[in-house]
């Protein structure tokens, strides 16, 4: 009894590491050093969040795969114990339910309503359009003054134009939706601002769905409007789905374009290989390696256990929060030897930059295609592309749900 009490006291006194953990100064691409230490010493460890809750942080590739593929692990943010990243996200999860926060079978039913446009062949058919958008943006950049912010001039417009066209959202409204979307995914935003931005975006998409109900076109919002008419979705649910697709469609790829460019400029030997290859397979491999190396969803996938689960020598109890730090999993030397080396010739396909399990990114074929087109075009068309500022001057998105750079001044 005394011994048990002593043990309990010792555990209670042992301070838990705070999460999220900071990246090291001067190492913008590396996962936080503390997550790498845990990966070696305590790959499934309790951590403390902003609200005092103590979910598990899982840092090894194999354990992450096991848990992300386990139906006893829920994505529903309304299940008690779910590890919310901050108060704004917690508030929003009550207001905007999407398939991201549902479990099967409800998740599968809703997700399948929007999978068809992301099938490999349909996405591949967009390659000429995406190539044209890429070339036009580069033409405009080359015709303008330097230095230029690559994020504003190229990285953000490209995926925004593509997702707008797919969804049927007018690109002229990009200032509006980009501004609100950046509030939503910034960890430093106040709860009031997050709620306001969410409402603004949902109302905007709600109006668009209503317009497509009256006057359908050949786009995803019109397909969702048809589901509304058939009684499979409410108009608000269709609008919520539209918000999710619009945000996911531009934020992530934009960050991969800009941050990927920084990483390549810092690895000129790798950039030279990419610039000189004509082999689409080599470009595709480079995309996978950059996805692995940068893992821009950088504060972990969030889940909650529905039952007791034995994994990696630990018992995760029903109701425990779980954070799968896939950025660190993608630097697991068991799966990717010398993970700290950016090697665009390696086979990195087993990375979890798009997550794993039934929630793995719906838009991944589109993201891959956009990155393949960009990485095989931008550096070839602007071979002298370089940073117009020091690496240490770049504003990295440490406070974002998605990692990247806010601005990227470049010249050539």
């Amino acid at each position: 009894m005394t011994e048990t009490l002593a043990e309990t006291t010792a555990q209670a006194e042992e301070p838990l590491a705070e999460f999220p953990m900071p990246r090291a100064a001067g190492c913008p691409f590396d996962p936080p050093p503390a997550t790498r230490v845990l990966q070696n010493e305590r790959p499934i460890a309790k951590v403390r969040l902003w609200d005092g809750s103590t979910p598990w942080l899982v840092t090894r590739h194999a354990d992450q795969r096991a848990l992300l593929g386990d139906p006893r692990v829920s994505s529903d943010p309304l299940v008690p114990g779910f590890p919310h990243p901050n108060e704004g996200f917690r508030e929003n999860s009550k207001r905007r339910r999407t398939f991201l926060g549902m479990d099967d079978p409800e998740h599968a039913r809703i997700r399948r309503m929007v999978t068809a446009p992301f099938a490999i062949k349909r996405v591949e058919a967009l390659r000429p359009d995406i190539q044209k958008i890429t070339d036009d943006l580069i033409d405009a950049m080359l015709a303008g003054p330097t230095p230029v912010d690559l994020v504003r001039a190229f990285a953000l417009p490209l995926p925004s134009l593509v997702i707008c066209r797919l969804l049927g959202v007018p690109y002229e409204d990009h200032d509006f939706f980009q501004k609100n979307s950046s509030v939503l995914i910034n960890m430093a935003s106040s709860v009031e601002d997050v709620v306001r931005a969410n409402e603004a975006l949902t109302d905007y998409l709600d109006n668009l769905v209503a317009a497509k109900l009256a006057d359908p076109a050949d786009d995803m919002l019109s397909e969702l409007a048809a589901r509304v008419r058939a009684g499979e979705l409410t108009q608000r649910e269709a609008a919520n789905m539209g918000v999710l697709l619009l945000i996911a469609g531009h934020e992530t790829t934009a960050n991969m374009i800009a941050l990927g460019t920084v990483a390549l400029l810092e690895h000129p030997d790798q950039l030279a290989v990419l610039r000189e290859t004509d082999d689409p397979k080599a470009v595709a491999r480079a995309v996978e390696e950059l996805l692995r190396y940068l893992s821009i969803v950088h504060n972990g996938r969030r889940r909650v256990a529905l039952e007791d689960i034995e994994v990696g020598g630990e018992t995760i109890r029903a109701g425990d929060g779980i954070i799968l730090h896939t950025g660190t999993g993608n630097w697991d030397a068991e799966v990717f030897p010398e993970p700290e080396r950016l090697d665009i010739s390696r086979d990195a396909r087993r990375h979890m930059a798009f997550g794993f399990g039934v929630h793995q990114c719906l838009g991944q074929p589109l993201a891959r295609l956009e990155l393949q087109v960009v990485y095989s075009t931008l550096y070839r068309r602007i071979p002298t592309l370089r940073l117009a500022t020091g690496l240490d001057q770049l504003p990295f998105k440490h406070d974002g749900a998605v990692y990247g750079v806010y601005e990227l001044p470049v010249t050539w």
């Binding site: 992300l68 593929g69 599968a108 997700r111 399948r112 999978t115 068809a116 992301f118 099938a119 490999i120 062949k121 396909r349 087993r350 798009f354 997550g355 794993f356 399990g357 039934v358 929630h359 793995q360 990114c361 719906l362 991944q364 074929p365």
Partner: protein, 65 residues
């Protein structure tokens, strides 16, 4: 080699189609997996095994080596 797909499990990520397009395809209406050849030739075995490993929903199974 014999391959099986668990259609209800599939989430349409399409990675199998990228890796082994002669063995897997996707339904047009919802991107769900279609098995084109359940006994792929030897030169495709490595690609099929890789497809099974990366399938996020564990919907592909190699039942006979």
């Amino acid at each position: 080699m014999r391959v099986e797909v668990d259609v209800p499990k599939c989430v349409g990520s399409g990675q199998c189609v990228m890796i082994a397009p002669d063995v897997f395809d996707q339904r047009e209406e919802d991107g769900i997996v279609v098995l084109l050849n359940d006994r792929p030739p030897a030169e495709l075995h490595a690609d099929v095994e890789e497809s099974a490993v990366v399938c996020p929903a564990a919907a592909i199974r190699v039942v006979e080596k």
